[in-house]
């Protein structure tokens, strides 16, 4: 556990996300998602190059040549296996809110306005494995019921929906999502975090197994890969993050 004790919070989350991508053919990442982006590049390296990673806004990792619509068309074609979404609010049914807080009747004069829904109201439906990612794990972000549903966690049976939420990764833990029950289960705790802490900081109800394991730390080889080749790749797309996390840029 000595290596793990030196892991930074970002590295813990990267290591938590990367295994979720194992075996996938094509993972896409939004332009301002350095931790998911780092996790995707790590998973790609571990796949021996069999996994494609497309990072929006990256000069080198972005293969798209048909304009802004191509990401969405590509996902609609079933060519994107995993994507990351976040939310100003996320609730226990995996509904996400990227619009704002307050009663919907007061729209658009929100108490707190978020930037907007981006592509969530589409990608959440068509990408098979959507990983929710939100560093801030507080009752403010993980709420009982979102004030505005940018995109719902689940849909009625007759709604076309090959995709949906797979897990929720925060700075404290990993939740898995069961779409049939529309409910999260506490899957693993980051080093040093307790189930009581999760209960205190989570605004929605979720299932807690009898024993909750620690979020697995990367083995030494993986950690060396992350801090070496991957960190240099990450620096090309997310220079600020790479500088802060690994001191390179």
């Amino acid at each position: 556990m000595s290596a793990a004790s030196h892991l930074s919070p970002s590295e813990i989350m990267i290591a938590a996300v990367a295994p979720m991508l194992e075996g996938l053919g094509h993972v896409a990442v939004g332009s301002q998602s350095p931790i998911p982006g780092s996790a995707a590049l790590l998973a790609q390296a571990r796949s021996g190059g069999r996994m494609r990673v497309s990072i929006l806004g990256s000069r080198d990792q972005n293969p798209f040549t048909d304009g802004g619509r191509e990401l969405f068309d590509c996902a609609g074609q079933g060519r994107i296996d995993a994507f990351f979404l976040s939310g100003g609010q996320i609730d226990g049914a995996a509904n996400i809110n990227l619009v704002g807080t307050g009663e919907i009747e007061t729209y658009p004069r929100h108490q707190q306005r978020f930037p907007g829904s981006f592509g969530s109201a589409y990608l959440y439906y068509v990408v098979p494995r959507v990983i929710l990612f939100r560093e801030e794990h507080t009752p403010r972000t993980l709420v009982k019921v979102v004030d505005f549903i940018s995109a719902p966690g689940t849909s009625a049976a007759n709604v076309y929906r090959p995709g949906g939420p797979f897990a929720l990764v925060t700075s404290r833990c990993v939740f898995s999502f069961d779409k049939h029950r529309a409910r999260f289960t506490l899957q693993s705790l980051h080093p040093g975090v307790t189930t009581a802490e999760i209960a205190e900081y989570t605004g929605f109800a979720y299932d807690t197994p009898a024993r909750v394991p620690e979020t697995p730390s990367p083995d030494p080889a993986t950690l060396a890969l992350l801090r070496g080749d991957i960190a240099r790749l990450v620096a090309a797309t997310y220079p600020g993050f790479a500088l802060k996390t690994w001191g390179i840029g």
Binding site: G67, V99, I104, R113, F118, Y122, S155, N158, G240
Partner: protein, 279 residues
């Protein structure tokens, strides 16, 4: 050369072609932003713009909103990205002076593509169960008319978005009015979908961009271009791909100043003072 080639204008004359109340489509910060033209629009200032983000907007929208130029925003998001929230946008929403048509990226692309194709709508997956449908009464859900017998397959339809004007910045144009945009095809979609298209460019090059098979592939033909202006570093302080990077200090300074109404006013006054109008 066609005498029907689009006119080469000054930045301020080009800006003057964008009238009050224009439905104006603008690209995201990662595409080509005509910031020099935006400055002239704020100097006037133009009024009551209906901004359409293709599909999201950043500094352009926040500045135009702060300068009182905007009545309505239609976009999948408005954000300054790594520089944080778009404060003038947020403040204008809270004060009630700004009408908001929240969207999602592919719905904007679909609406523009509907206009590009001359059809009244495009169908789109997703959306069902989203509160966006509640705040967008112009979006409808129908039963897919091609669904198998007896099955109900609800699907959203997005009305065509036909802007009056598309405005963006690009690396180069030729004297025929052809504009090179490279892989930034959303700019081509904006031009196809809009009634008029005004473009600022870094330079006017000799020859015809369409004569070079490599360049032609990334070129919007002059057919769609209504007017051009040369604006060197016309996207600054936002960057322009393969030409210059963003001036992050200037962007951060803007983001900080724009947190308050007074801060924005000072920022704008200094900016208009520093950049005298070019006739």
């Amino acid at each position: 050369m066609l005498t029907s080639a689009p006119p080469l204008l000054s930045v301020s004359v080009l800006a003057a072609r964008i009238g009050n109340g224009t439905k104006l489509v603008l690209p995201a910060d990662y595409s080509g932003c005509a910031m020099a033209v935006v400055t002239e629009l704020m100097r006037r200032p133009v009024r009551d713009l209906h901004l359409v983000g293709a599909p999201v907007m950043g500094f352009q929208a926040d500045q135009l909103i702060g300068a009182g130029c905007v009545a309505r925003v239609e976009a999948a998001a408005v954000t300054l990205g790594e520089h944080g929230l778009a404060s003038r946008f947020t403040a204008a929403l809270k004060s009630g002076e700004l009408e908001m048509w929240d969207a999602t990226c592919p719905a904007i692309h679909a609406g523009l593509q509907a206009s590009e194709k001359g059809v009244p709508f495009m169908p789109m997956r997703g959306l069902i169960g989203s509160d966006l449908l509640a705040v967008r009464p112009d979006w409808k859900v129908i039963d897919n008319p091609l669904a198998e017998d007896g099955k109900r397959d609800p699907i959203a339809i997005i009305p065509a978005i036909q802007p009056d004007v598309a405005l963006f910045h690009a690396a180069k144009a030729d004297r025929h009015g052809n504009v090179w945009i490279g892989i930034r095809r959303e700019l081509m979609l904006m031009a196809h979908a809009s009634k008029a298209t005004f473009v600022s460019v870094e330079e006017i090059v000799d020859g015809n961009l369409l004569d070079d098979p490599a360049l032609a592939a990334g070129t919007i033909p002059s057919l769609y271009i209504s007017g051009l202006a040369v604006a060197v570093r016309g996207a600054a302080p936002i960057g322009l791909a393969d030409c210059y990077s963003a001036d992050n200090a200037a962007l951060a300074a803007y983001a900080t100043a724009a947190r308050s109404s007074a801060g924005f006013r000072d920022w704008l006054a200094r900016k208009l003072d520093r950049e005298p109008v070019t006739a």
